[in-house]
Symmetry: C2
Subunit: 386 residues, 2 copies
């Protein structure tokens, strides 16, 4: 717990308090966080200098002593841009500091790594233009579909054939603002903490499915990184011994049962037909297609087993399920709940809530925004969400 | 991260630094930990008042300014007593502050909860007497074979039929010293951090097997507790869908494959004979008994799958395996390593070391000592290891 780490931790926590309690005073921040007065004062001053927060006389000022000052997010501080890169599509979104979406768009993506800078730059220009705002961009956060090391290297994206890509270098110059990168699962979890179901929760496990399955461990107020920032690869929990092969090279991983390609393959193996990936799966389920419903029910069972392991490992107040899982909730949750009741330890299950994300149904567009906001407010100069 | 939590965290970290680096100065503690000067100074003074540490002129004193003072553990501060309760045996151990064992003994136990206070009191008196020391007892730590809540309630020990037992109340008066309690897996992990393989490691996953299978998550310098202090139940990771029934009431748990009763049952099902539990299993393996070797090899495979999940979840620098697993290393590790190579994600496995404990082979006697030392040094008045 060294000084620069502590400063980052303090800065993020203080910004979070101000976001959660508009017109909070410095004294209240000190009470809520237990941080030193000097720490809070110096970080609040820095945020004010950066234009991220505003000071205003507090409505119900303390009668004794000098009138206290309320802090709140700045209403016109500039824009946060989020970019969510997936295998076949890229999401672009523009928000204010509060995470309120001003414009968003999902574009098809051909997976061309050589052309990615030009492609993303054009996407950002288009979405900022569509937002109608003329405010400057404060930061761009790019959410990536694979493990990201502390230096910004994207380790491996099997479905795109990318390996060991220096993304900060590749994306340099996509906007006239600092660019931050991070893993999509961690980013989506951070978005839940900032704008979603976990704003006041310091400990939760986030599991996300899309073209792959990822996640994040949000422990004691921050994303837990592990030895080299790769912790939280929840899609690669082993759920079946000698089970299906997984794109990671191993077998029996949760991702091999829960990812979009895995679901489509299983449905087709059983004679079903899902030409448009997850959209077709949802259509089939809504129309009562027996094969699709059967596969989703079995997936719910596998998911329930994995979530019960997570509950027994982490004793978490919340397990949050996002991405395609959230879209498929009506077809997964009965089997998942049955498995949880059988398999999770009662003393821990009784203290855990398993929830479906409301802000990350399908593509977690706010993940990139969370990366950008984390980068802008962390004050430590790092450009990688960890 | 409130003040009392921070004080506990600071106190434990400072004591740990002094233990690791005898004759360290206050200034060096500040440099190593990044803590405030006033924090370090106040905690060091408190430790000195309590007789836990001694100040001595530092051998290689800084030439400029006043001579610096070296801190070290007190050589005659008093005794730490550890008590390790298991289903059929209780271990007693007496140590100094440095964890050096002065006397230890393992006694048979009939599992009688009503008589436990008398039984443990007599055991402590006997072991202290056997140690030959006349120093006072500073603290007693009792390591318990089940989930322990923050208030000291032992949730459930299936093998003993205990449920919701207020252990702090039951054990009141077993010695003229403060009594501290905790879960055996967490305690054994803390012992590794204090005296074993992880003294300089801030992040590791500890997995332990005996009559049950437990563990602990040691994250960012401390044991991670989760919503109600129950995190780390690694014996109840699901390893086989619709697998063997487990004493926790669920099925397919790692414990149902790795615990001593599970191993004995499987060996007997295959025609083997292990009348003396794990001792017989080890004898059989050493003698080349094919049934025993086969079962241990298969257990290594199951263990490898579980450990690969842990590596993919935590990206841990070290996974440490203790208790009976450490004793059975020669018979488990080939199959375990094969499974790890197939199943753990290479980007994480390459950064993880899977180790076998040297201080917790069989019964982790130092677990109770770790609970006692944690309690004595944490300065926050809590009597439960969390």
């Amino acid at each position: 717990m060294n000084r620069s780490y502590l400063r980052r931790f303090h800065a993020s926590a203080i910004f979070h308090r101000i976001r959660l309690e508009p017109s909070i005073s410095q004294r209240e921040i000190i009470e809520r966080t237990g941080f030193d007065k000097s720490t809070v004062s110096s970080i609040v001053s820095r945020f004010a200098e950066m234009g991220l927060i505003e000071r205003q006389p507090k409505p119900e000022a303390n009668r004794r002593g000098r009138p206290s000052e309320g802090l709140q997010l700045s209403g016109n501080s500039g824009l946060l841009v989020g970019v969510q890169i997936e295998a076949e599509a890229v999401g672009f979104v523009v928000c204010g500091l509060d995470g309120a979406v001003m414009a968003s768009r999902i574009e098809p993506f051909n997976g061309d790594l050589e052309g990615i800078k030009t492609y993303v730059k054009a996407g950002i220009e288009a979405i900022v233009s569509a937002s109608g705002s003329r405010a400057p961009i404060m930061g761009v956060g790019v959410s990536l579909p694979g493990l990201v090391k502390r230096d910004g290297t994207l380790v491996h994206v099997p479905v795109l054939g990318w390996r060991d890509v220096d993304m900060l270098d590749r994306l340099k110059g996509i906007a006239e603002a600092p660019v931050f990168v991070g893993n999509d699962g961690k980013a989506a979890a951070m978005a839940e903490r900032m704008f979603g179901a976990c704003t006041d929760i310091d400990n939760f496990v986030y599991l996300f499915s899309g073209s792959g399955v990822g996640g994040a461990l949000f422990l004691d107020g921050e994303v837990y990184g592990g030895a080299n920032g790769l912790a939280g690869e929840l899609g690669h929990i082993k759920v079946v011994p000698q089970g299906r092969f997984c794109s990671c090279g191993a077998s029996g991983c949760l991702s091999a049962y829960l990812s979009e390609p895995a679901l489509a393959q299983e449905i087709e193996r059983l004679g079903g037909n899902v030409p448009n990936g997850f959209a077709s799966i949802l259509e089939g389920a809504a129309a009562g297609d027996e094969v699709v419903l059967n596969v989703l029910d079995h997936t719910g069972e596998v998911l329930g087993s994995a979530v019960s392991s997570l509950i027994n490992i982490f004793n978490p107040p919340i397990v949050l399920l996002g991405g395609n899982i959230a879209l498929a909730q009506p077809y997964l949750s009965v089997a998942m709940d049955r498995a949880l009741m059988r398999l999770a330890h009662p003393a821990m299950y009784s203290r855990s809530t398993v929830k479906f994300s409301e802000i990350s149904e399908g593509m977690p567009l706010l993940g990139g925004v969370a990366i950008a906001l984390d980068g802008v407010t962390s004050l430590d100069g790092s450009h990688v969400l960890q």
